[in-house]
């Protein structure tokens, strides 16, 4: 997809004015957010599990070259073919090569964010292959020519009415007056339409949630069973996974699985978790004859090298999106590329270059909720701060840079800072006394456009605090 990250401010403004989007996102607090809270409450040890999950990820990333090697040996011994892809071009080329060599025409896709990252579908289609997304949400965005707006709920921006209209348009071969008034009817129709496609597919392409070095297995986590149909039915299965998906052992995978679904959807466990190891065995009546695993770097080793390795702990649960006030207000498409929300603000500058995405790490109030819920404790705010620092030299107007320099000069000199704030607060207090609030303030139009700014009471927090410490009655 062509990145729209440079127009983030306009994207966000448009999204804020979109009442339909606001309604769709309005379900998050009572939906995924509440479900995660309930799941966490059922597991008193949840914080301990998060720490263990973080340690597993850090241990793996610190030994990543050796684990990749160990995984590849095991997977090859089980009969899988491993392909190493440094970037998007290499990954697309190797997948196309496998497809064409097998004379494939129809490709079943399981959900894979990495395939979005390398724009796989468009490439395969340009070679004459037909590709269908099989996760319901991914299918919905595919037939609308859109991209996912959430890591685990790709069509979160759509309403039931949208889906009905899309199905009537896209499934034009079905009787026009059929009843599609319920979610159940829509799911049943998608099931029937996609079932036929599954049975005809030549190749299945899925992502992987984890690659287990101990056994050479790919782990696939789904609720619908679409990933499994993509992996079990076609003659050839291709797993597309990035280097950070490695886990050492099944015991490590168990801990990560315990925090993954609970953080993502509030389920203790999703309906299906599958460990896929190599192609079918001689005695097996089913399963793919060929199993390929494409391991993608695409800038991740550079992230590790340049001090952003903590972002590679991510297990793509989407909790940071669900809990982010910015994501809740603007949705995923405004972020302009594959990954949205706090993790998107950290990953996108790494993948596209900070000059392409400098506004993303700034789209945060640093409330820290994302870090509080991250199952692998990624320090998302400090990583966003790292990007702000790296982009500061090149981005922003001269005025912004001067203002920031003045702020930084003052903030590092406590006496000057206190004097300046005392003066500022006293002035604002005097000016605002008649009304108690400001309807307009210079430099703060963004705030006062939609609400009043309360006038300060005359003294700063530090003054109050100092008096309190001295025991002065209020």
């Amino acid at each position: 997809m062509t990145p729209a990250t440079r127009t983030f401010r306009e994207n966000a403004r448009t999204a804020l004015g979109d009442a339909k989007l606001a309604k769709a996102l309005g379900g998050l607090p009572t939906g995924l957010v509440a479900q995660r809270a309930a799941a966490k409450a059922r597991v008193p040890e949840f914080e301990t599990l998060r720490t263990a999950a973080r340690d597993i990820r850090d241990h793996t990333l610190s030994n990543l070259d050796v684990y990749l090697s160990a995984f590849a040996d095991k997977a090859e011994a089980a009969g899988a073919r491993i392909h190493w892809a440094a970037d998007a071009v290499e990954a697309r080329t190797v997948i196309a090569h496998i497809a064409l060599k097998n004379g494939a025409r129809l490709v079943a896709k399981g959900k894979s964010m990495i395939s979005e990252e390398i724009a796989l579908n468009a490439y395969l289609e340009s070679l004459g292959l037909e590709v269908f997304e099989s996760d319901l949400g991914e299918y919905l965005v595919q037939i609308r020519n859109e991209t996912p707006s959430h890591i685990i709920v790709p069509a979160i921006h759509l309403s039931r009415d949208d889906v009905e209209a899309d199905f009537r348009r896209h499934h034009a071969h079905l009787v026009p007056d059929r009843d599609l008034s319920t979610a159940e009817a829509l799911v049943a129709e998608a099931r029937a339409v996609l079932r036929e496609r599954f049975l005809a597919a030549d190749i299945g392409i899925t992502g992987a949630n984890f690659l287990v070095a101990e056994t050479g297995s790919a782990i696939l986590v789904t609720n619908e069973g679409n990933g499994d149909l993509s992996a079990h039915l076609p003659k050839t299965h291709i797993v597309l996974a990035s280097i950070d998906k490695i886990v050492p052992t099944l015991a490590d995978a168990a801990t990560l699985l315990r925090v993954l679904a609970r953080s993502a959807t509030g389920q203790d466990m999703t309906a299906y978790t599958s460990l896929l190891t190599g192609p079918r065995l001689q005695a097996d009546p089913d399963g793919p004859g060929e199993c390929h695993i494409v391991i993608l770097d695409n800038g991740r080793s550079e992230m590790l090298r340049s001090g952003l390795g903590e972002a590679l702990r991510c297990i793509r649960c989407g909790a940071c999106l669900n809990h982010c006030p910015v994501y809740n207000a603007i949705g995923g498409h405004a972020y302009g590329w594959v990954y949205a929300g706090p993790i998107g603000a950290v990953l996108t500058p790494a993948f596209l270059g900070v000059d392409q995405a400098s506004d993303l790490p700034s789209a945060s109030s640093f409330c820290g909720k994302c870090e509080e819920v991250c199952p692998v404790r990624i320090p998302l705010t400090s990583l966003m701060r790292t990007w702000r620092e790296r982009s500061r030299a090149t981005s922003g107007s001269a005025l912004q840079r001067m203002a920031l320099a003045a702020w930084s000069f003052t903030a590092r000199r406590p006496r000057l800072y206190h004097a300046a704030t005392r003066l500022g607060i006293a002035m604002l207090s005097a000016l605002g006394r008649p009304r108690g609030v400001f309807r307009r303030l210079p430099f703060a139009r963004g705030w006062t456009a939609s609400r009043d700014f309360p006038a300060p009471q005359g003294r700063t927090f530090q003054q109050h605090w100092a008096e309190r410490e001295r025991g002065v009655p209020r």
Partner: protein, 227 residues
Amino acid sequence: MSRSTFLVRVRGAVETASGTTAATRQSAVAGRLAHPPRHPLPICAKARSQDWEKELIAALEARGGNVVVIPDLAALPRAVESQLLHEQRTHLLVGDDPRLAVLPWSIPPQRWNPAQKPDDGTAALTHAVAAVAETGTLVLASSAASPATLAFLPETHIVAVARDTIVGSFEAAFSRLRTAFPDRLPRAVNLVSGPSRTSDIEGRLVKGAHGPRRLVVVLYGAPAETT
């Protein structure tokens, strides 16, 4: 890109980030793989063994699965046939499972022919190798007796579980798998925790997205010796 070129790049990044030597990393990895760590367990994975079955049933039922308990494998045909009758079905697909073939069926189940994909409207019966109480999860291992396809294409999936194969945690189930299959795991180990589902339309939970709409679990035999 060749494996060695690819890994050289990752190695450079790892060494810059962690400052370790290749030898240190190799011994750390070898140690971890030889002796998988014991991570903290949540309370649901630490239940006493006499509570495992109760936990398993509660979790499966909470997700919309049905659970039936029968005394022994000989009682399986009656339990399965009554489920089929309830769903007004006559067909039951099975793999090449000798344990099922010898049972006293009144209507013999049909051996699945891999060349024919089951219609959406069939029922299938497979055998689990274990079940995990922690989250109410069935462990299916693909084989001629238990083809993975039968766990996903039919509309109703019936799973037979010997009561003495119920374990408390994922770790216990995985360690059983490693013991049973020391060289390599079966092609597909499917951990099934309920019927297929989706919430992709306005967050509303709908069962039967792509996989089975109904999951029926039949527990049979004597429970494991409790200590």
